[in-house]
């Protein structure tokens, strides 16, 4: 990929940012997940594994339709199943669980390996496995708990939004295969426009609390969701107000500069002390030292 398509790189100083020329020139893209049109068929999940050549181990029944049990290095898209009783009705709710491609990605912020996590000009957040060292900072920093570290190669994996497909003008594999049209792909602008229209339709159909999940806490997301009840995203296993974690911010924005200052200050004081106070020697131990020469000193 042309380097200029990468507008943000992990572990890269703001002083020396990634190429910015295409910011604004390349349209931001988004995947829209309309939970009110999803019937939990798992086509997206399987198509994801198929396209990306991933094969998780065959698991066993865990008391739910959800299989595998969680996202993993070999499962980048997972359908989640929740039985929710609300407004006197049973709702079987499905969540297309995959990377949200945050505009302000916690993973990228946390990653300390230069260029291992990048944000493309179209907004996609992508991992460069060649560079990844497997520290897991991304996994712990993600507000959506998405990246997973492989025990086999110790690298982080997650949905790439099929960056290999989008790079040649195709939609992500999950979107193409979606049987009900619950997944759509397009420019972020178009997806938000469509989402608003759809929410209005839903309200007409009696889903008065329907709304768009595009959390501002992470700058908006590259996967936008339409939820039946926007006030209760937890019922879809989605955090209510995801943010970059305080711990991550303290670590990156406070500890690092303060730590640097502390280390430099200590070293500086040491140096200053050394050149001002000088050597601290036991003169008796010095070569050529004769006690008698220093008798008066000793008394």
């Amino acid at each position: 990929m042309a380097t200029q398509d990468i507008i943000r790189r992990s572990g890269t100083s703001d002083v020396t940012p990634a190429a910015q020329a295409r910011v604004g020139g390349v349209k931001q893209v988004a995947k829209l997940f309309d939970a009110t049109k999803c019937n939990g068929c798992k086509a997206c999940q399987v198509a994801c594994s198929e396209w990306n050549d991933l094969r998780e181990e065959v698991g066993s029944f865990q008391g739910t339709y959800q299989n595998p049990a969680s996202l993993s290095p070999e499962c980048w898209t997972l359908m989640k199943y929740n039985e929710v009783e609300a407004d006197g009705k049973l709702h079987w709710q499905f969540t297309h669980s995959a990377c949200m491609h945050c505009a302000d990605p916690g993973c990228l912020k946390a990653c300390s390996t230069a260029g291992a996590i990048v944000q493309h000009a179209n907004g996609t957040v992508d991992f460069d496995s060649d560079k990844c060292i497997g520290c897991g900072y991304c996994a712990s920093a993600c507000p959506f708990d998405i990246p997973k570290i492989s025990p086999v190669d110790n690298k982080a994996y997650k949905c790439t939004l099929c960056s290999d497909r989008t790079a040649v003008g195709l939609e992500p594999s999950c979107v193409k295969t979606c049987t009900t049209g619950a997944l759509r792909f397009g420019t972020r602008e178009d997806m938000l426009f469509y989402a608003e229209k759809r929410v209005a339709e839903l309200k007409d159909r009696g889903f008065t609390n329907a709304g768009i999940y595009n959390p501002a806490g992470v700058g908006g997301t590259g996967m936008v969701m339409i939820l039946r009840d926007i006030n209760d995203p937890e019922s879809y296993d989605m955090p209510k107000d995801p943010q970059i974690k305080v711990s991550t911010e303290l670590w990156q924005d406070v500890l690092k500069p303060l730590g640097t200052a502390g280390i430099l200050a200590t070293a500086g004081v040491a140096l200053l002390h050394r050149i001002t106070v000088g050597r601290n020697i036991v003169e008796e131990d010095q070569p050529g030292y004769r006690a008698e020469d220093h008798e008066e000193d000793n008394q």
Binding site: K37, N39, G40, C41, V46, R55, V58, S60, F61, L90
Partner: protein, 794 residues
């Protein structure tokens, strides 16, 4: 399907009942979401389980499995008592106005003519009153007490809301909502579609389930309309084709019949199957039966079929009774069968009552399995403790396992539910030495021809005579075979362009008359790829080929009134305009006729109208009636306790002893498919195995609590026929129903168990199910039987 997948988008109300389209036909279900979003359609799901179809429904109503007829007859009662009927349609296009014989009657669960001893009906009285010309008498005012309409109203009178609710367990409030939604389509500008599949056929009265729905559709005026119709969502990719190919005990390709003992000569056979019109001026399309039949015999026997030898009629085997799977396995079980060729069927896992099947297969002298996957059927002789317990050494069956190609490794055509014949191409060679099915049957046939030529034997003539004059007799090409299906002039070799060109004099040969037009002189019509939809109504006439004659919506004459004016101008398929017919689809009638003369849309019927009264077609009776499943959780029929289940069931010897009672097995159980799997094939497919690795049993929270079963616990589910161990999925999606003064709990088991695949070893649900099935079709009652469930010791 009378209509097709895309057409669902034109519906106003979609009723999924007796099926679970979201799970079994997910991409087809996509058109439901399309209708909901772009046509503001409402989705109603009626099912024992709140399934993935229900997850998107505007309204879900629970129902006790096996009570669909009661549910739908109640709908008919609601429609007729509230006059929410498309009367113009009903009067013109159904037999509502036809007068029924005076001796037809219904009392206490039985129609007239029941013979207690035979367990069957004398159907004599189930017919119209005929006039002197042999035409049915009608009363267009619908006032005559013997007209179908009044008999029907009288028949459904018993099915009021409370009665229906008492039988089905559907709460009255839910039921009313469903009734209202369905009824809303009686107006001319609204249309409903029903989507059903095995959830209706897998019953001891499957055919009647479907029929009841078809009656609702006729009353609402929804058949022949865009967005309407009767839409069987067929199972396998080519079930439609396999049925078209007549791979059934009593059929030949194109829905013509295999001769029976009652038809010693060709003339007898043709006379028996070429109907006479029951009303004046009928198209009565089956009057062409002799043309189709003789052309088929020509395809079978080639030059060996001559007028002198009745075109080889005698070489066709004749049936004396229906030898369907159920009957055949029962014969096998009794040691009456020596050999069996199983082609792409995992019979041991699919056929009901696994333990019986296992014994049946063990009786065979030889078993030939053609498959592309290692199925449990071919390895039935391998002992697998718990799952397949056999004494291998004592099984004297010679077994052959022959590898076949899969779809990706062959070319040919398959037919989808919408009757689209689609041509596919080969993308890779088959693994190892695998061969196409046609090559394998050719190989066996060539061997037999050789043996009969060398050593003679019983009746060698048909073996010699069968027309196998393909370029490579050992491996006929798909193109040659499909051209034969299309039909050709035997003198010139010219491909026919439609079945209208077929002749009864032996001058044409045709493997399946319905497929005529699929490979004409213009070449392969099934391969066409123009996906334009000029009307915007989802009709893509340039894509593939829809039999018959590329027609996309069957019975489309019914989309307009008697005068050729569409019921709804937004749903025009055909229209009489300026003295001629115009439209977006191939007319399903003689388009040379004016509207009044063509106003009999159901051209395959000798009376040209839809039948609310089915005459002698079905074994249970001309009107549907609620009968309990063979194993009923209430043990009685609230409507007529003396006739609990269908009186015409086929009982094999000894089967009565394998039927459980509610005292011993108190819970209803149903089986179903999951989105992630396709029967057993996908258990060999790693991606599918990952997404759903193991089967389970679903049960409601109340029952689980009563039984001390927690989500994920290992449980033992047993029926009168056997037991399985599986894990419990405790869910809110199933709920206890109040039926006839008791609580009925329903369990659900997916049918994807396998002990020999990439998924976790699992029992198959057919250990539990009964071979009792529909009297008309033999389809087993997979959807409603009785079980017990207990927490198992781990």
């Amino acid at each position: 399907m009378t209509n097709h997948w895309i057409d669902i988008k034109n519906s106003n109300v979609v009723i999924i009942m007796g099926g679970n389209a979201a799970e079994a036909h997910p991409v087809g279900f996509g058109w439901v979401t399309e209708a909901m979003q772009h046509n503001n359609a409402k989705l109603v799901v009626v099912d024992p389980r709140f399934n993935r179809s229900a997850s998107l429904a505007d309204h879900y109503a629970p129902i006790r499995s096996g009570t669909d007829i009661a549910f739908l007859l109640g709908v008919i009662r609601y429609l007729t008592t509230t006059d929410q009927v498309n009367f113009d349609y009903v009067k013109a296009y159904t037999n509502a106005s036809y007068l029924v014989r005076d001796d037809f009657d219904f009392h206490d669960g039985l129609f007239s003519g029941f013979d207690e001893e035979k367990g069957d009906y004398n159907k004599e009285s189930w017919f119209y009153q005929l006039d002197d010309d042999g035409y049915a008498k009608v009363d267009e005012t619908l006032e005559h007490p013997r007209c179908v309409w009044n008999l029907l109203k009288q028949h459904v009178e018993r099915y009021d809301f409370e009665t229906v609710s008492n039988i089905t367990g559907t709460p009255v409030a839910d039921y009313k909502v469903v009734c209202e939604m369905i009824a809303s389509t009686h107006t001319k500008d609204r249309v409903a579609t029903f989507m059903y599949a095995l959830g209706w056929t897998h019953h001891s009265k499957g055919a009647q389930n479907i029929r009841t729905m078809a009656m609702v559709q006729l009353i609402l005026g929804n058949i022949g309309q865009l967005g309407g119709g009767v839409n069987a969502l067929r199972g396998h990719a080519n079930v439609q084709g396999a049925t078209d190919m007549g791979l059934l005990a009593q059929s030949l390709p194109g829905y013509v019949k295999l001769p029976s003992d009652k038809e010693p000569t060709l003339a007898d056979h043709l006379a028996a199957h070429t109907p006479k019109p029951l009303r004046p001026g009928q198209t009565n399309y089956w009057q062409n039966y002799p043309k189709f039949y003789v052309s088929l015999l020509k395809a079978f026997w080639g030059d060996n079929a001559t007028p002198e030898n009745d075109f080889g009629y005698d070489w066709m085997p004749k049936w004396d009774q229906m030898y369907d799977f159920g009957k055949y396995l029962d014969m096998m079980y009794r040691g009456q069968i020596n050999g069996c060729i199983v082609q792409g069927v995992n019979a041991i896992n699919s056929m009901p009552n696994r333990n019986k099947n296992l014994k049946a297969l063990s009786q065979l002298k030889y078993l030939v399995v053609l498959d592309n996957l290692s199925s449990e059927t071919a390895t039935f002789w391998q002992n697998e403790p718990g799952y397949n317990e056999v004494d291998t050494a004592s099984i004297q069956t010679e077994v052959f396992r022959l590898p076949t190609t899969c779809f990706a490794e062959e070319e040919g055509s398959i037919v989808n539910s919408g009757r689209w014949m689609q041509w596919h191409y080969k993308g890779a060679n088959a693994p190892g030495e695998a061969m196409a099915d046609s090559e394998i049957v050719s190989g066996i046939l060539m061997e037999l021809k050789k043996l009969y030529a060398e050593e003679g034997g019983r009746l060698p003539e048909p073996v010699k005579a069968v027309n196998w004059e393909y370029t490579d007799k050992h491996n006929p090409s798909s193109i040659e075979l499909t051209k034969e299906l299309n039909g050709y002039d035997v003198n010139t070799g010219r491909q026919v362009s439609s079945f209208a060109e077929l002749k009864a004099d032996g001058s044409t040969a045709c493997g399946c008359w319905l497929y005529a037009g699929s490979w004409t002189e213009q070449g392969n019509q099934m391969d066409r790829r123009d996906n334009h939809d000029p009307s915007g109504k989802g009709i893509t006439p340039g894509w593939a080929f829809a039999w018959p004659v590329n027609r996309r919506v069957l019975y489309n004459r019914a989309s307009c009134d008697v005068n050729g004016k569409p019921w709804d101008p937004n749903r025009t398929i055909v229209e009489w305009k300026d003295g001629k017919w115009e439209g977006i689809d191939v007319p399903d009638f003689n388009a040379k006729l004016n509207p009044q003369d063509s106003a009999h849309p159901f051209i395959m019927q000798p009376e040209g109208v839809g039948r609310l009264f089915a005459l002698k077609l079905l074994k249970e009776g001309p009107f549907p009636e609620h009968y309990e499943p063979v194993e009923s959780p209430i043990g009685t029929n609230p409507l007529h306790p003396k006739v609990v289940h269908s009186p015409v069931l086929r009982w094999f010897e000894g089967v009565k002893d394998t039927i459980g009672t509610k005292e011993e097995f108190p819970y209803a159980c149903t089986t179903y498919s999951l989105t992630e799997h396709f029967n057993f094939w996908t258990t060999h497919c790693r991606l599918a195995a990952i997404s759903m690795p193991e089967t389970f049993v679903e049960m409601n929270e109340t029952l689980a609590a009563e039984k001390g079963i927690k989500n994920g616990d290992l449980v033992k589910v047993s029926s009168k026929r056997g037991h399985i161990f599986t894990k419990a999925l405790v869910t809110k999606r199933l709920r206890p129903l109040n039926v006839n003064g008791q609580v009925v709990h329903t369990l659900g088991i997916p049918r994807h168990g396998s002990h020999n695949a990439l998924t976790k070893k699992a029992y198959t649900c057919n250990v539990l199910t009964t071979e009792m099935g529909d009297a008309n079709t033999g389809v087993p009652e997979y959807k409603a039987f009785l079980v017990n469930v207990e927490k198992a010791e781990v």
